[in-house]
């Protein structure tokens, strides 16, 4: 259970003369020869001096004021907070991986190249694509990469297209990535159920459209049934169809975006392939493309060469002339990709299919059960890996935010709230496949209690959460005045 008091800043702890690790001093005369005093700074003002036990206790205490999947059910919609297998952590800490330097000659790091190459092949098969780049380090980074690839392909055709169509229900990263790639994002209205409005699409679709970005299943957790038709419409106009793979967990082993007509997809290993999210990253956002786009993938790519011809070296990083160029310092987040590789070797095709099946089963079980206890389920049809509720049936004055905060008090991490923006008071619940039925039942019970409290004792919800280190944080007030670090001069 989360602690109910706060922890002092590390800068307010310790005492001059302590250290958390012993380092020998150096001879100052020699130092002056090595680095002239006029180039050097003074003592590190403001830095703490704490002993090793103080340091360990500080971070242990901070961890106890945090909630992760290891603690509790964490049904954040669109985030796929599934269990992070510990074997992957063990592998990612092996010295034969962590101590590989990217500037070592290729002959020395064949193990890393082989893993990356094999991971690429597996992703091709899972998504129905012809090639993948593993270099993007996050979903949004993958989006940018995918859009730049599209831009390069269009340029190579000798065309100029600068619009990217984006449904209003899309993740905010989609329009932001389109801008960063130099496109003009154009909003496409969606039907109430979150599916693309074909008439709106028809109207917006002209020779200036480079691509359309679609999340499938949509951010409302529903499969885009018209996807092939949409792909045909775009392809007929020479535009590309981009898949935001944030919700791939619903499809793995069941259906492949490549078969639906998508030309580009970014995947999120920290969602679908069980790599931990670490409180905001690091992630990895591999991008897959169809044949026409392969030459434009970022550099370097890993290629496999014939052993006979090249002797010892099998896997080689290559730089294609038509490539959009480098998008990361080296090969992307290798240790994250390594975890995804272990996961796929553990799951196999059958395991992945079970992932999607159980994820969708759990989501629908929640959908039906929560509707039964009175929550409004705006689209009461089969959902994919997540189900959508709203606060519409709640007594007046009770909002989605109140429900979420009350859930924290009951020991859960809340669902995604107020997203997608197109649904008023949205609560997006994604249980993932790694939860037991008992956990789901307890969660349903908690939601039932909340619905009852909302009627009988609404203040319990307004004041929630109660037993956390801090209560209802004033996130608006925190912006004025700002306090962004201990060095910050208040304005």
């Amino acid at each position: 259970m989360i602690h109910s008091d706060t922890e002092k800043l590390i800068f307010e702890q310790g005492r001059a003369g302590r250290t958390g690790i012993d380092v020998e001093g150096v001879c100052l005369i020699e130092l002056d020869d090595a680095l002239s005093p006029e180039l050097r700074r003074g003592p590190l003002a403001g830095f703490p001096e704490v002993s090793e036990p103080e340091m360990v206790r500080h971070y242990t205490r901070l961890s106890q004021r945090n909630v992760g999947i290891d603690d509790t059910f964490y049904p954040l919609g669109s985030c796929t907070m599934k269990y992070n297998p510990r074997i992957n952590e063990a592998v990612a800490s092996m010295k034969g991986f962590t101590n590989l330097h990217p500037a070592m000659p290729q002959t020395e790091t064949q193990n890393a190249f082989r893993i990356l190459w094999e991971l690429e092949q597996m992703l091709n098969e899972i998504c129905g694509m012809d090639a993948f780049t593993l270099n993007p380090v996050a979903g949004a980074h993958g989006e940018l990469t995918g859009l730049k690839i599209i831009r390069a392909a269009i340029r190579a055709r000798g065309e100029k297209r600068d619009k990217v169509l984006i449904p209003t229900s899309a993740h905010g990263t989609n329009p932001a990535s389109a801008m960063l790639a130099g496109f003009t994002p154009v909003n496409i209205e969606v039907n109430p159920d979150g599916s693309v409005n074909l008439e709106a699409l028809e109207k917006a679709l002209d020779e200036n459209v480079a691509a359309m970005m679609i999340t499938n299943p949509s951010t409302l957790g529903l499969f885009e049934t018209n996807i092939k038709k949409i792909a045909d419409m775009l392809h007929a106009k020479g535009a590309f169809l981009y898949c935001d793979g944030a919700n791939l967990n619903a499809l793995v082993g069941i259906a492949r975006p490549g078969d639906m007509g998508f030309d580009v997809i970014q995947t999120n290993t920290h969602k679908t392939f069980s790599t931990p999210h670490g409180g905001g990253g690091p992630g990895a956002g591999p991008v897959g493309v169809k044949k026409e786009l392969v030459p434009f993938l970022p550099s370097p790519r890993i290629e496999k060469f014939d052993k006979e011809k090249f002797g010892k070296v099998l896997f080689v990083p290559v730089y294609d002339k038509q490539s959009i160029g480098r998008i990361h310092s080296y090969y992307g987040n290798f240790l994250v990709l390594l975890r995804a590789y272990c996961y796929l070797r553990t799951m196999g095709a059958r395991g992945l299919r079970e992932v999607a099946e159980a994820a969708v089963l759990n989501a629908n079980y929640l959908r039906v059960s929560l509707a039964e206890i009175g929550y409004r389920v705006p689209f009461n049809r089969m959902c994919m890996h997540e189900c959508l509720l709203t606060d519409e049936n709640m007594p007046s004055g009770i909002t989605t935010l109140d429900i979420a905060k009350r859930l924290i008090g009951k020991g859960y991490h809340p669902m995604t709230i107020y997203f997608p923006l197109t649904v008023h008071g949205a609560m997006l619940i994604e249980p993932t496949e790694t939860e037991t039925k008992e956990t789901l039942d307890e969660f349903i019970q908690a939601m039932k209690e909340i619905a009852e409290e909302a009627k009988a004792n609404p203040n319990l919800l307004h004041d929630a959460p109660h037993n956390t280190p801090v209560q209802r944080v004033d996130d608006v007030g925190a912006n004025r005045p700002l306090n962004l670090n201990l060095r910050w001069k208040q304005q």
């Binding site: 922890e7 090793e52 360990v56 949004a140 409180g279 905001g280 209560q471």
Partner: protein
């Protein structure tokens, strides 16, 4: 499947509740799209944990051979000792398995750790405000230039030092190629290894980007860079690829740098074949609203208790969509938390001593190498823990000889990116290099160049 607890009894009960009979009925999609019905995925067969472990140990063992050799590799990925406390603390599930801290009441641990990280980076860089991390030093550099464009609307061209990390310049090119910001590269002085800053050439400047230290390990003159940037109306961006240097060199903020960016990998992250890394960015308070990425602030809860929370989210994509300052969402939060732990473990005096040790060791090796017949130090500029040597052999050949016969990674062959200097090698020395390592290197080089 051990990660999926659904039993057949569970499945039956849940299907019944949903009101269907078969799992396939869950998938409300056209049957011609259901791959699994026609052709199951062609993937390697699933393995039990013991076999996955054995397979990965085999791969790791191949890497250990390389990892155990004497190394002087640096160039943006630095070899430093990682205190044992870090791996113990960072593997705690509460940090490791949390998502982005959107719910502050359940995320004070992550939020406070990131606020402390922001404080550390502000103190180190001498800037007013640092964000909660970007992907890596290269993308941070690109983000800094895009940020400069938002601030300096009159400027057109970005002037980038040729002595900036070559990969950073490549990433910058990729980021800028579609957004109409021309890049002009500034040559470096063949004698000093410092960037040549000629204000007359830069009348349309948007920003000036220099390494500190640069790719050759040379400590650039930020005072001069500031004067030139001011003269031409450009923002000054400094880029540090070896973050440990910040604990000993004058902070960029002291020179009036507008945007500081860097690679924070030195603070507790192993080389990891180049990732995950840790992008650093910091700026002046006046520019805070132009910063890309997440910012953590200290505010209050409803009872007036201090609380940490994401602030000025109105710059971010989930609120502002296409008007956001960047598309970044997932960043490197756990790496930032690690950096905070690293800086805490070493603390005020430990960091200073560590940096001094690096400087002194690098100096010693440089002096010894310079005495070898056939070796010269081509650049006269001051360095921290990396420097360039020039020999009579080609860099590629020399490095091959060092590795093949003596199991030494002697450094990075600069001719890959600087064709005019085919005999230059970038040598990095850290606390990880023992006196014996260095003697071995000196001895080997002497032999090879005989």
């Amino acid at each position: 499947m051990r990660y999926i607890p659904v039993t057949s009894a569970d499945r039956e009960e849940m299907l019944k509740k949903i009101g269907i009979h078969f799992i396939d009925q869950l998938f409300d999609m056209p049957t011609d799209m259901l791959t699994h019905l026609s052709k199951p995925l062609n993937l390697p067969a699933p393995l039990p944990e013991m076999e996955v472990m054995a397979l990965m140990e085999k791969f790791a063992k191949e890497g250990e051979i390389a990892a155990s050799k004497t190394s002087f590799l640096g160039g943006g990925i630095n070899r430093h000792y990682l205190p044992a406390t870090i791996s113990a603390l960072i593997s705690r599930g509460e940090f490791l398995t949390a998502y982005t801290p959107y719910q502050p009441e359940a995320s004070q641990g992550t939020l406070q750790a990131l606020y402390e990280f922001q404080t550390y980076i502000a103190l180190l860089s001498g800037m007013d405000v640092a964000n909660a991390s970007l992907y890596d030093g290269a993308t941070a550099t690109a983000e800094a230039v895009l940020m400069a464009k938002r601030i300096n609307k009159k400027g057109k061209t970005v002037y980038v030092s040729c002595a900036l990390h070559p990969h950073y310049r490549e990433v910058l090119r990729t980021y800028l190629q579609d957004v109409d910001i021309p890049i002009v590269e500034l040559a470096f002085d063949a004698k000093t290894g410092k960037t040549i800053l000629a204000p007359t050439m830069m009348n349309d400047a948007l920003a000036l980007v220099v390494g500190y230290p640069n790719y050759f390990g040379i400590i650039e003159d930020l005072k001069e860079a500031r004067e030139v940037a001011t003269k031409v109306g450009a923002l000054l961006i400094s880029v540090t690829t070896e973050a440990l240097s910040l604990t000993i060199l004058k902070p960029p903020g002291e020179f009036g740098v507008d945007i500081f960016v860097g690679e924070g990998q030195s603070f507790g992250l192993p080389p990891s074949f180049g990732g995950p890394l840790l992008g650093l960015i910091a700026t002046k308070d006046a520019y805070v609203r132009n910063l890309p990425g997440r910012l953590i602030g200290r505010g209050k809860d409803k009872n007036g208790k201090d609380a940490f929370v994401i602030v000025i989210a109105t710059r971010e994509q989930h609120i502002k969509r296409e008007k956001a300052t960047s598309n970044i969402c997932t960043n490197e939060a756990l790496c930032a938390t690690i950096a905070g732990m690293y800086l805490t473990a070493y603390g005020k005096t430990g960091l200073a001593n560590l940096a001094k040790q690096n400087a002194v060791k690098a100096f010693r090796l440089r002096e010894k190498l310079a005495k070898i017949p056939g070796v010269s130090i081509p650049f006269s500029g001051a360095t921290f823990n990396e420097f360039v040597i020039r020999t009579k052999k080609s860099g590629a050949q020399l490095l091959r000889n060092l590795l093949a016969g003596r199991q030494i990674f002697g450094g990075i062959n600069l001719s890959v990116h600087y064709h005019k200097n085919p005999k230059d090698i970038l040598v990095s020395v850290t606390e990880m290099n023992t006196d014996e390592d260095m003697d071995k290197f000196v001895h080997a080089l002497r032999e090879i160049l005989k």
